[in-house]
């Protein structure tokens, strides 16, 4: 454990507090068990759906201790942060005079310009998913292996049509780009509630596609075709990094008090997107 903080003080069998339980050097393991793949956007009227297969990982660590030491409170699990999101959709009317609409979900005020902690339950859980934590029970013998798993399958959708309030005409989905960048961390929490980040992995899912309808009837058009944009679609998983992530873009959201998780961010940006409208087919700046 050279270069790391000493393990915390914990009570031994006699009630004496001492530095008893420690992480077995080199015992932390993180294996990618399933890598994600993105699917071609699907038309399920009234929406275009952006889905992927799941990412799955398994982690473990071993605790050393002496007979009688109490490992209660040591907990292994995953924390995940999302640190980048691109999320916009462009709509055009059937003709130039029907106008165009640009929906920007990935920029403030629709989405705060900062990372978020990604949790299945409330953000105060801190853990990504509490139900799969590896916990230690009193009386367990050493060396004690704790295990946990990680699973995610992000997705999103865009409505196929929206009414342009300037022209009062229906505008139809023309192009969408989505990029969700995550980092998950295998972490061990000790009985003093301190987190020891053991391993981490960066990963992302990307979609970009053009859409065209051949029918323009309300409410969502018909005869849709979907053309993925070259280079704009894929899922990428980085290699396993030892130790804690050293990344200013999201380090501060991993275990700190947060008001909302990434699903809340995503819901807010979907129901309150930044919306720009034009009376004609306009090219919008997608970076804003």
């Amino acid at each position: 454990m050279r270069g790391e903080l000493a393990p915390p003080l914990t009570p031994d069998a006699s009630g004496l507090w001492r530095r008893a339980i420690s992480i077995a050097p080199g015992s932390a393991q993180l294996k990618m068990t399933v890598k994600p793949t993105v699917k071609t956007p699907a038309i399920v009227t009234p929406d275009a759906l952006f889905k992927c297969t799941s990412i799955q990982a398994a982690g473990e660590v071993t605790l050393n201790g002496a007979a009688g030491d109490n490992p209660t409170g040591w907990t292994l699990g995953f924390i995940q942060a999302q640190w980048i999101e691109t999320n916009w959709g462009y709509y055009r009317g059937q003709t130039n005079n029907d106008g165009s609409v640009f929906i920007q979900r990935g920029r403030a005020p629709a989405r705060p310009a900062r990372g978020c902690r990604d949790t299945v339950g409330p953000v105060a859980d801190i853990w990504y998913y509490k139900s799969v934590l590896g916990t230690a029970a009193a009386g367990a013998t050493f060396p004690l292996k704790l295990t946990s798993t990680h699973y995610d399958r992000p997705s999103d959708s865009y409505p196929l049509a929206t009414t342009n309030n300037k022209t009062k005409k229906l505008n139809f989905l023309s192009e969408v780009q989505l990029e969700f960048h995550f980092c998950f961390v295998l972490t061990l929490r000790d009985p003093s509630l301190k987190f020891h980040h053991l391993k981490c992995v960066y990963w992302n899912v990307l979609w970009q596609a053009k859409f065209a309808a051949t029918g323009y009837a309300a409410p969502a058009g018909s005869g849709w075709s979907v053309t993925p944009v070259a280079g704009g679609n894929g899922a990428h998983v980085g290699h396993v990094i030892d130790g804690a992530p050293n990344d200013a873009r999201f380090n501060n959201v991993l275990t700190s008090v947060q008001g909302a998780n990434c699903n809340v961010f995503a819901n807010h940006e979907t129901t309150n997107p930044n919306r720009s409208e034009s009376r004609v087919w306009q090219n919008f700046d997608v970076t804003r």
Binding site: V44, P46, D47, L49, S54, Q80, Q82, C116, D118, T119, V120, G121, Y128, Y129, S131, Y151, D152, R153, P154, S155, D156, S157, F180, F182, N261, C262, N263, F265, A266, N267, E269, T270
Partner: protein, 155 residues
């Protein structure tokens, strides 16, 4: 000639008989009685007002997972909607006597479990034994469904 009341009674018996092994209702006093029947596909179910008066139910349905002998909240909330095109304006729905309501089935995921949703964290909650719990709008009565199982992998 069969009277409308008799027809309704026959319909009730058929509904109950058709799912006797799966039918479970918690009549929680007064005349409030909601039966929930699980359907063939895991996560598919329907509700029926078994009482003689209208019942207002919360649109939100809790999901619980069996852990040992206990039922524990699952990190998902379902909605009493019959299609994803519905944009519910109210927190509750009203079921007429003997009315049957078949919501969009649950696919077992914590996010987007019935309809498309923006999901970042999203886990499949199976395998396991689950139930849904309907609640009256005044939150006084709860009606758990029969237990159903989700397979190890999503369908």
């Amino acid at each position: 000639m069969i009277s409308p009341h008799a027809l309704a009674l026959i319909a009730s018996l058929v509904w109950i008989a058709g799912c006797a092994a799966h039918f479970e209702a918690e009549a929680a006093g007064d005349k409030v009685a909601i039966g929930i029947k699980t359907l063939a596909a895991p996560g598919a179910f329907e509700l029926r007002n078994e009482g003689s008066a209208e019942v207002s139910l919360l649109r939100s349905l809790a999901v619980e997972k069996k852990s040992g002998e206990k039922w524990e909240p699952a990190p998902v909330t379902l909605q009493l909607i019959e299609s994803c095109a519905e944009k519910p304006a109210s927190e509750c729905i009203t079921l007429a006597p003997r009315a049957v309501f078949r919501p969009v089935p649950w696919n077992g995921y914590s996010c987007g479990g019935q309809c498309p949703e923006p999901c970042r964290a999203n886990v499949y909650l199976g395998p396991g034994t689950f139930r849904v719990v309907a609640t009256t709008c005044d939150r006084k009565h709860h009606f758990p469904s029969p237990a159903f199982t989700l397979p190890a992998a999503p369908g």
